[in-house]
C-alpha cells in the first residue's frame, strides 16, 4: 500500500492546524514588532476555556467561536495592559521577549493549579470516517482542514481587500510613514492583537479537540513548531507562515514515512536551519526586503 496519499492527507491536516496559529503569531509580530512568547500559553488557555464552558463535549463550531473570543480577549488585554506600557518606555526587544516569557509562565502555572494532577480528555462520540485514495480520515479532521482553509481565505481577504488590511500592511512595512499617511497605527496595533489572539484561540481549541486530551503544557511543543513555520515562511509574512506550515506538515509526515518516525521533529529544525542559511529572510519574503535586514 502506498504511503503517499496518507503523507499528503495527514501532512495537510497537520499543516492546517499549524497554519492557523502561525499566521496569527507572525501577523502580530509583523505589525507590533513584539516577540510574543506567551502565545503558546494563550493558546493553551483557550483550550481550557473551551473545555470548561463546553463541559468536555467537543463541538468544533462552538469551539472555534469560543476560541476566537477567548483568545482575542486575552490577547488584547495582554497587549494593552502588559506590552504597551513597556513599549512606551522603549524596552528593548530582548527585554520585551523576557516579559512575554514571564507572562507565559504565569499563565502556564495558573492553568496547572487549576488542572491538578489530571489530564483533561474530551468525551468523543463515535465519528464517521471518510475513505478516499486509500486514506481514512474522520469527519472532524476534514472539518478542521476546511475551517483552516476558510480562515486563511478570511485573512487574505482582510489583508488584500479591506482598508484595514491595507493599513495593517502599511504599518508592518513602515509605521512612521503609515502614520504620516493618516493611518491610525494605534488602532492597527489593537486590531493586530485582536486578530492574532482570535487565531491563537482557534488554533488552541482545534488542537485540543484534535488531540482529544490536553494539559497545561500541551501548547508548548506546538507553539515551537508554529514559530518554526512562521520563521521559515518569513517573519511577519502571513502568507509565508501558511507556506511554512505546509512545508513543515508535509515534510514531517514524509520523513516519518520514508526515513523513520524518530525524524519527525528533527526534520522541522533541519529545514529551519537550511532556510536560514540559504534564504534568511524566509521563503516568502522578496529579495527587495534585503533593506529590511540591514535597516
Amino acid at each position: 500500500m502506498s504511503l503517499i496519499p496518507g503523507i499528503i492527507a495527514f501532512g495537510l491536516y497537520s499543516a492546517c492546524l499549524l497554519a492557523i496559529g502561525a499566521v496569527g503569531f507572525t501577523l502580530q509580530f509583523g505589525i507590533t514588532n513584539v516577540l510574543n512568547l506567551a502565545y503558546g500559553s494563550i493558546l493553551t488557555g483557550a483550550m481550557f476555556v473551551d473545555y470548561a464552558i463546553g463541559q468536555g463535549i467537543p463541538n468544533i463550531w462552538f469551539g472555534i467561536l469560543l476560541g476566537a473570543v477567548s483568545g482575542a480577549l486575552i490577547s488584547v488585554l495582554f497587549g494593552r495592559f502588559i506590552v504597551m506600557p513597556y513599549v512606551r518606555r522603549g524596552t528593548s526587544l530582548v527585554a520585551m521577549a523576557m516579559v512575554t516569557i514571564g507572562v507565559a509562565l504565569v499563565i502556564q502555572y495558573t492553568l496547572e493549579s487549576i488542572q491538578g494532577p489530571f489530564v483533561y480528555s474530551y468525551q468523543v462520540a463515535h465519528q464517521t470516517t471518510v475513505r478516499f485514495a486509500g486514506v481514512t480520515m474522520s469527519e472532524e479532521q476534514l472539518i478542521i482542514i476546511g475551517a483552516a482553509l476558510v480562515l486563511m481565505a478570511a485573512v487574505h481577504a482582510l489583508l488584500q481587500y479591506t482598508r484595514l488590511g491595507l493599513a495593517m500592511r502599511a504599518t508592518a512595512v513602515h509605521p512612521g510613514l503609515a502614520r504620516s499617511c493618516g493611518v491610525s497605527t494605534e488602532r492597527v496595533r489593537f486590531t493586530a492583537w485582536l486578530v492574532s489572539g482570535a487565531l491563537c484561540g482557534i488554533s488552541g481549541v482545534l488542537l485540543g479537540i484534535s488531540t482529544g486530551s490536553f494539559n497545561s503544557v500541551t501548547g508548548g511543543p506546538f507553539f515551537i513548531t508554529l514559530v518554526v513555520a512562521a520563521i521559515i515562511g518569513g517573519v511577519g509574512k502571513p502568507y509565508g507562515a501558511m507556506i511554512g506550515a505546509l512545508v513543515i506538515g508535509l515534510v514531517s509526515e514524509a520523513a516519518a514515512a520514508v526515513i523513520s518516525p524518530d525524524y519527525k521533529n528533527i526534520v522541522a529544525w533541519v529545514i529551519l536551519i537550511v532556510v536560514l542559511i540559504v534564504r534568511p529572510q524566509g521563503i516568502f519574503a522578496e529579495f527587495a526586503s534585503r533593506r529590511e535586514l540591514i535597516g
Binding site: M1, L3, G6, I7, A9, F10, Y13, S14, L17, T32, N33, V34, V87, R89, G90, L93, M98, V99, I101, G102, L105, V106, Y109, E112, Q115, G116, P117, F118, V119, S121, Q123, V124, H126, Q127, T129, V135, T136, M137, T171, P175, G176, L207, S210, T211, G212, S213, N215, S216, V217, T218, P221, F222, E253, A256, A257, S260, P261, D262, K264, N265
Partner: protein, 450 residues
C-alpha cells in the same frame, strides 16, 4: 514649559521617543532593581515548587520528590498516599526516638530541567530531611548525585537503566529497572498468550525507551518476532504515517508506553484505520488520565477488550497490606488522601509506604536520625532474623534487642550489591485493576536468558 520636549524620531516599535525627558522609572538604579525583581520572580515561577511540609523543629521530614504537576503528575499523588499512610502509623506508634515524621511534597514536575532546581531548592532550604521517596523515572541521573552529595537516603521506584549498576551509597531502588520491565513483557507474551508477532511502540522519552532493549532482547531469547519497532514523537497532532507502517507489518500484539495525550491521538487514529489490536501497556501508563484519554479516543468497550497492563506486582493481601489499607482509609478520612481506592492496590503507593517504614526502622536500628549513620541500616532491616510486617512490630522487636527482616506490602525485599531489589510482575486489567496473572521472577529471568 517644564514639560516641553522635543521629539527626535521613533523607536523600534514605531512609537515616538522624546529626548531630554527623564522619569524616575528610568533612573539606572531603579531600572536595575526592577530587572532584579523580574529575574527573581521569573526564577521563582520557573522552579519546581516546594510545598510547606509543616517541618517544625523536632519533626523529621520525608521528602516526597515526585511530579505533582505536568504530564506525569499522577505519580506524585500515588506516592503521597503511601507516604502519609506510613507516617501516620509511625507517629501513632510513638515516632522515631521521640521525633514525629511528616511527608513533604517537592514537585519535580517529572522533567530533568525542573527537577534539578527543585532538588537544589529543597536541599538548600530544609535541614531536617532524613529520607527521600520518589518515582523519578527519567530524572534520576540528575537528581541522585545531588541527594547522594547531601548524604540523604533516596528510596526510589524510578526505573532508569543506568541505576541497574548503581554505585551511589545513598540510592536504594525497591523495584526492578525499566529494562527488566521489557523482559517481563516478553515473558508474558511467551508464556500467557499465543502471539508471536510483536510490535514495539514507545514514545521517544527516556523513561519509555528504557523498556525497549529488554523487550527486544527478551523477545529474541524467547523466539518471539519483533515485526515493528516504532518510536513515537511526543504530543504530535497526527500519527497516521506511523500507524500505516505499523499496520503494514501485521503484528498480532503491540507493547506500548506513552503519555496520555500521545496515546489519545495515536489510538484514535489507529481505530480510525481499523488497526486496533491486543495491546500490552507498561507501568508508565498507570493513572486515570491515561485511561481517560484512551476511553475518549476509542471507547470503554474497546479499552476493556484490547488492553492489559503489566506492572511490578505487590500482593494486595496479607497482614501488611491490611494494615496499609486501613491506614490509607484513615488518611482519606483525615482529608490527606482523595480516592483511596485508586491507591490501595497500586505498587506506586505500596512501595513508598514500605520505603518510609524502612527509613524509620533503619533510624531505630542505628539509634540515630542522622542519615550518614543510619543509611547502611536500610539494608540491615531487611536481612535480620525476626520477620516483621509493620513499623510497630519492628519497633517492638528492635527494642527487644532483635534484628529484623521487614517484609511489607511488597513482600520480601532483597537488595543486591547495587542496592536494587527485584520483584514479581503482575498482569492487570487496566480499568478495573483486576489481577489476571502473576509473572514469577523465574519467568522473567528466563526472558533475560538467566
Amino acid at each position: 514649559m517644564g514639560n516641553l520636549v522635543r521629539y527626535v524620531g521613533r523607536d523600534r516599535y514605531g512609537m515616538d521617543r522624546p529626548r531630554g525627558y527623564t522619569k524616575l522609572s528610568r533612573h539606572p538604579a531603579v531600572r536595575m532593581a526592577m530587572s532584579v525583581a523580574c529575574a527573581v520572580t521569573l526564577a521563582a515561577c520557573a522552579s519546581g515548587g516546594t510545598s510547606s511540609g509543616g517541618g517544625s523543629s523536632g519533626t523529621l521530614q520525608i521528602a516526597n520528590f515526585d511530579p505533582f504537576s505536568g504530564p506525569n503528575s499522577a505519580y506524585g499523588y500515588y506516592e503521597q498516599a503511601g507516604c502519609v499512610s506510613a507516617v501516620n502509623l509511625i507517629n501513632a506508634a510513638g515516632g522515631v526516638s521521640g521525633h514525629k515524621l511528616t511527608c513533604t511534597i517537592v514537585d519535580s514536575r517529572g522533567d530533568p530541567a525542573d527537577a534539578v532546581p527543585a532538588a537544589q531548592q529543597m536541599l538548600a532550604t530544609a535541614s531536617n530531611i532524613v529520607g527521600i521517596v520518589d518515582q523519578d523515572s527519567g530524572c534520576l541521573t540528575v537528581t541522585v548525585p545531588l541527594f547522594n552529595a547531601a548524604h540523604i537516603p533516596d528510596l526510589s521506584i524510578g526505573g532508569d537503566i543506568p541505576f541497574d549498576h548503581n554505585h551511589y551509597p545513598y540510592f536504594w531502588r525497591t523495584i526492578p529497572g525499566d529494562d527488566v520491565a521489557g523482559y517481563s513483557f516478553a515473558a508474558y507474551l511467551k508464556n500467557d498468550t499465543k502471539y508471536t508477532k510483536v510490535a514495539s511502540v514507545f514514545t521517544n522519552d527516556q523513561s519509555a525507551q528504557g523498556n525497549v532493549p529488554g523487550l527486544l532482547e527478551g523477545s529474541k531469547i524467547l523466539h518471539l518476532g519483533i515485526v515493528a519497532n516504532e518510536t513515537l514523537a511526543l504530543d504530535q497532532t497526527s500519527y497516521a504515517t506511523e500507524i500505516q507502517r505499523l499496520i503494514a507489518a501485521h503484528p498480532q500484539v503491540m507493547v506500548l508506553e506513552s503519555d496520555p495525550q500521545t496515546a489519545g491521538v495515536f489510538f484514535g487514529q489507529l481505530k480510525q484505520a481499523n488497526g486496533l489490536m491486543p495491546t500490552v501497556l507498561t507501568s508508565g501508563t498507570v493513572g486515570t488520565s491515561f485511561d481517560k484519554a484512551i476511553i475518549a479516543a476509542i471507547g470503554r468497550a474497546d479499552f476493556l477488550k484490547y488492553f492489559v497492563r503489566v506492572v511490578q506486582f505487590a500482593p494486595s493481601a496479607g497482614y501488611a497490606w491490611t494494615v496499609f489499607d486501613k491506614a490509607l482509609l484513615s488518611a482519606a478520612k483525615a482529608g490527606q488522601v482523595k480516592n483511596p481506592a485508586a491507591y490501595a492496590n497500586s505498587i506506586y503507593s505500596e512501595d513508598p509506604y514500605d520505603n518510609v517504614n524502612m527509613i524509620a526502622l533503619a533510624m531505630l536500628a542505628a539509634h540515630s536520625t542522622k542519615p550518614a549513620v543510619f543509611n547502611p541500616y536500610i539494608r540491615k532491616v531487611t536481612e535480620g532474623s525476626t520477620v516483621v510486617h509493620t513499623f510497630a512490630q519492628g519497633k517492638a522487636a528492635l527494642a527487644a534487642g532483635k534484628t529484623i527482616d521487614y517484609v511489607g506490602v511488597e513482600g520480601q525485599i532483597h537488595f543486591d550489591k547495587y542496592q536494587n531489589s527485584a520483584g514479581e510482575w503482575g498482569v492487570f486489567q487496566p480499568l478495573t485493576n483486576k489481577q489476571l496473572q502473576v509473572l514469577p521472577a523465574s519467568l522473567v529471568s528466563a526472558a533475560e536468558g538467566h
